[in-house]
């Protein structure tokens, strides 16, 4: 896994490449903590990630939770198809969020169909 952080005026983007496995979980946590510490609008770009395991999914979820708690926004940018399959295999996609707060969508929430 390789991470690069890009900071613009409003948004901070963390771009991750390679595969995200249990060995990278701790690094990912550090990277996400740094990301959230900065801008109030953060984005994680997973388009170049080819595989992700449960530990890293949990870290992403946890980061989103932290962001919501501190009133910030964390979003995932469009992920590669292989990653979406990983998510589906793990049973992560859902209709409604876990967070019991109104109007805050879950990181894994499917877009509402019209």
């Amino acid at each position: 896994m390789y991470c690069s952080l890009e900071q613009s005026e409003e948004t901070a983007t963390l771009t991750i490449t390679g595969s995200m496995t249990i060995e990278d979980a701790a690094d990912l946590k550090t990277a996400l903590t740094t990301l959230l510490a900065g801008s109030s609008l953060s984005e994680v770009d997973l388009s170049a990630v080819d595989a992700i395991d449960l530990s890293c999914l949990q870290v992403l979820c946890s980061a989103h939770r932290a962001a919501v708690h501190s009133g910030k926004k964390l979003a995932l940018s469009r992920a590669a198809d292989s990653l979406i399959t990983c998510l589906e295999d793990a049973g992560f996609p859902r209709q409604s969020g876990c967070l019991q707060q109104d109007g805050v969508p879950c990181l894994w929430q499917e877009e509402k169909r019209p």
Partner: protein, 693 residues
């Protein structure tokens, strides 16, 4: 019959049916090569033949089907597409299997090896050498499962330090997916905020709804290596249907709409505004959203299983050898006869008590008769689908482009009628494709679409079924028929014939206007045989045609051959019956009327002269004509012709008995029936009588 023989006989029966399904699916697949359902159907047919073939020692068959199955497995997985070659080869394989089933030992081994090699080659070219190994592994696995499919609810909660053991829970989920249809919902509510979370701990747990046939042990096997590191609960949701098939009565809204107290539109509006139970729970904080979602997934999957099961239930049937059914129908026939005797005896005796019982028996017998005859009814669709293959092969052979359309495949007819209808229909369709439909070039030149159409329809009409075969080909050439008929001395040169009469000439023996004889048709044997076969089924055949536009052949058949509604008549001391469907009306004919006609057999029916056949003379029943006789007017092939009898008795339920071998050749009579008093009445073959003149 030994047990083993019985089993292999059952296998054969099943395999023949599966082959029929296979053929239909393949032909449809040719038109819709991407239809996943059809691909699945082909795969399943092959898979079942393979599995049960191996079980009953038909190893040759199972070896061949295995190769076909392998290729279709790839197609099912989307790694290859259906090609025309594949359809051709699979049809060939189906034919070979059919011949292997019917003639053990005398199989064209070279052909079999060729096909096997062909399919192997296809499989290899789809996926490289690996494909073969994968397919072999997966198919041997699928053969092991014999348990019925059940629905399981699994909660899998790995221990927090599962990552440290090197286990990957996602791999386990993947393995579960391979067991069957699977819905997985991850519960993420235990994941803490980033600052306090340990990235190497597992916080997630899952609810899984799995529909599989591998049994609970199959599921446990997946978790065997993490058994000690997780909480695992597996519940069967639909143990033999007890838990989930409880009928739930209609919802309030449905009842109100049904009673007309609420319009469906109003209900929609109310429902839109109404919050769902799940939403209410989540809002009130009583249940976590992911829990509600997991429950909803369970509900949905169960509904799907219920739906599937319901579909299966409607298709549920038992297999009965057809000779058992024939025996049943014969017995019911006897019963109807005896019941008629009982009723007659009861009315003669004037015994109230006996009459009451006789009435009861009559009612039961007629119900029994109807439902027994109903059992023998089969949809004509199976026969229709055979013709798809016929048309496909013929048009390929002749270099024509012909499409076959069928309509009314669900129309039911007596099993015997369907069986005996096959050959005449094959003949007619061959004629249509060979002589009717022109070559693509010719069609284009004539301003018609390139491909010709043969349209097969079946529909009920009263107590008959009407089958039509229509093509949009060249049509019949009236002049050619006329010339040919004159040449063969069937008509004189000056004869004036209606269109209908002219077309009817092609049913004469040896009549063919085809310029050249092909391997398929044109020899002039056939249409006369077709007519005879249809008439043997108590049916009629008629042709209409328009030159350049096409030909339509209409066949009208009775629903059943075992029992018919008929009209009973009497001549002297003899009783006769004739099918009621042929009878138009009955008239009186006095001696004065006969004198008026000056010895010609013509009756004046409301100003129209109708010829009649005096049956008393025809059957040589003596000359003691009663003063008033009756003419039963029938309509055959558009002509109204009367039959002169002494008196008309009335309607009769006639159980048809065939005549003994000695009397097969007797003209004008097609069978016999036994009357209530035990005497025999002959069944008149009206079309033959009319033809005879």
């Amino acid at each position: 019959m030994k047990m083993a023989e019985m089993h292999s006989e059952a296998f054969r029966e099943e395999a023949y049916e599966l082959l029929a399904v296979l053929e239909t699916s393949l032909l449809e697949l040719e038109e819709n090569p991407d239809d996943a359902e059809l691909i699945g159907s082909v795969f399943r047919s092959m898979h079942t033949i393979k599995g049960s073939g191996a079980m009953f020692g038909f190893t040759d068959i199972s070896e061949l089907t295995h190769e076909v199955e392998t290729v279709f497995d790839h197609i099912r997985n989307g790694s290859a597409r259906v090609t025309k070659k594949l359809i051709d080869e699979t049809l060939k394989a189906g034919d070979l299997i059919r011949s292997m089933l019917s003639s053990e030992g005398q199989v064209d081994e070279a052909e079999r090896q060729n096909l096997i090699a062909g399919f192997r080659h296809m499989a290899v070219s789809i996926h490289g050498e690996q494909a073969m190994e994968i397919a072999e592994n997966s198919s041997s696995e699928t053969e092991l499962n014999s348990e019925a499919e059940k629905l399981y609810r699994i909660r899998f909660k790995p221990s927090p330090d599962i990552f440290l053991t090197g286990a990957n829970p996602l791999h386990l989920l993947k393995e579960l997916r391979e067991l069957g249809t699977c819905r997985i919902i991850a519960h993420l509510c235990d994941i803490p905020s980033l600052d306090v979370m340990d990235p190497e701990r597992c916080y997630t747990y899952w609810d899984i709804i799995l529909s599989t046939s591998k049994g609970i042990n199959g599921i446990k096997d997946v978790f065997i290596f993490v058994e000690d590191d997780c909480q695992l609960s597996i519940d069967v949701l639909d143990d033999s249907g007890n838990t989930i098939d409880k009928p739930t009565y209609k919802k309030l809204g449905e009842i109100l709409v049904e009673r007309g107290d609420l319009t469906p539109e109003d209900m929609e509006i109310v429902l839109k505004n109404k919050k769902r139970f799940g939403e209410i729970l989540v809002e009130s904080g009583l249940a976590a959203p992911s829990k509600v979602e997991a429950a909803l997934v369970e509900q949905q999957q169960i509904r799907e299983v219920q739906q599937k099961r319901q579909n299966n239930e409607t298709a549920a049937s038992i297999r009965v050898p057809s000779d058992k059914l024939d025996t049943l129908v014969n017995l019911v026939g006897e019963l109807v006869t005896v019941q008629a005797r009982l009723s007659q005896t009861a009315s003669l005796r004037g015994d109230q008590h006996l009459a009451h019982i006789a009435e009861e028996v009559e009612r039961l017998t007629s119900e029994l008769r109807d439902s027994t005859l109903n059992i023998r009814m089969m949809p004509i669709g199976a026969t229709f689908s055979k013709f798809r293959r016929l048309v496909r092969d013929l048009s390929q052979q002749l270099g024509k482009e012909v499409e076959i359309l069928t309509e009314g495949a669900n129309t039911e007819l007596d099993k015997t009628v369907i069986e005996r209808l096959n050959d005449p229909l094959v003949h007619i369709i061959r004629n249509s494709v060979d002589h009717g439909i022109e070559s693509p070039e010719y069609r284009l030149a004539a301003g018609k679409p390139r491909h010709g159409t043969v349209c097969l329809t079946a529909e009920h009409s009263g107590d008959s079924v009407i089958i039509t075969i229509k093509d949009d080909g060249a049509g019949l050439d009236k002049e050619a028929i006329r010339a040919k008929a004159i040449e063969r001395n069937l008509i004189t040169e000056t004869a004036e014939l209606s269109e209908r009469e002219l077309f009817a000439l092609i049913f004469a023996a040896g009549f063919s206007t085809a310029q050249k004889i092909t391997g398929i048709s044109g020899r002039g044997v056939g249409m006369d045989v077709v007519k005879q076969s249809i008439e043997a089924l108590r049916g009629f055949i008629e042709i209409t045609s328009q030159k350049g536009k096409g030909t339509k052949i209409t066949i009208k058949l009775p629903l059943t051959l075992a029992i018919i509604e008929s009209l009973m008549v009497k001549i002297g001391e003899e009783y006769f019956v004739m099918p009621l469907s042929l009878v138009e009306e009955c008239l009186e004919l006095t001696l004065a009327d006969i004198e008026l006609a000056h010895g010609r057999n013509l009756a004046n029916v409301r100003g129209t002269l109708i010829p009649y056949i005096p049956l008393r003379e025809r059957f040589k029943l003596g000359n003691s004509n009663p003063g008033i006789q009756h003419v039963v007017v029938t309509e055959i092939a558009g002509e109204r012709i009367g039959l002169l009898v002494d008196s008309v008795i009335g309607e009769h339920q006639t159980v048809i008995k065939s005549l003994g071998k000695m009397y097969r050749g007797v003209q004008g009579v097609s069978g016999a029936t036994i009357l209530g008093d035990g005497s025999v009445a002959l069944i008149l073959d009206v079309p033959q009588l009319v033809q005879w003149g």
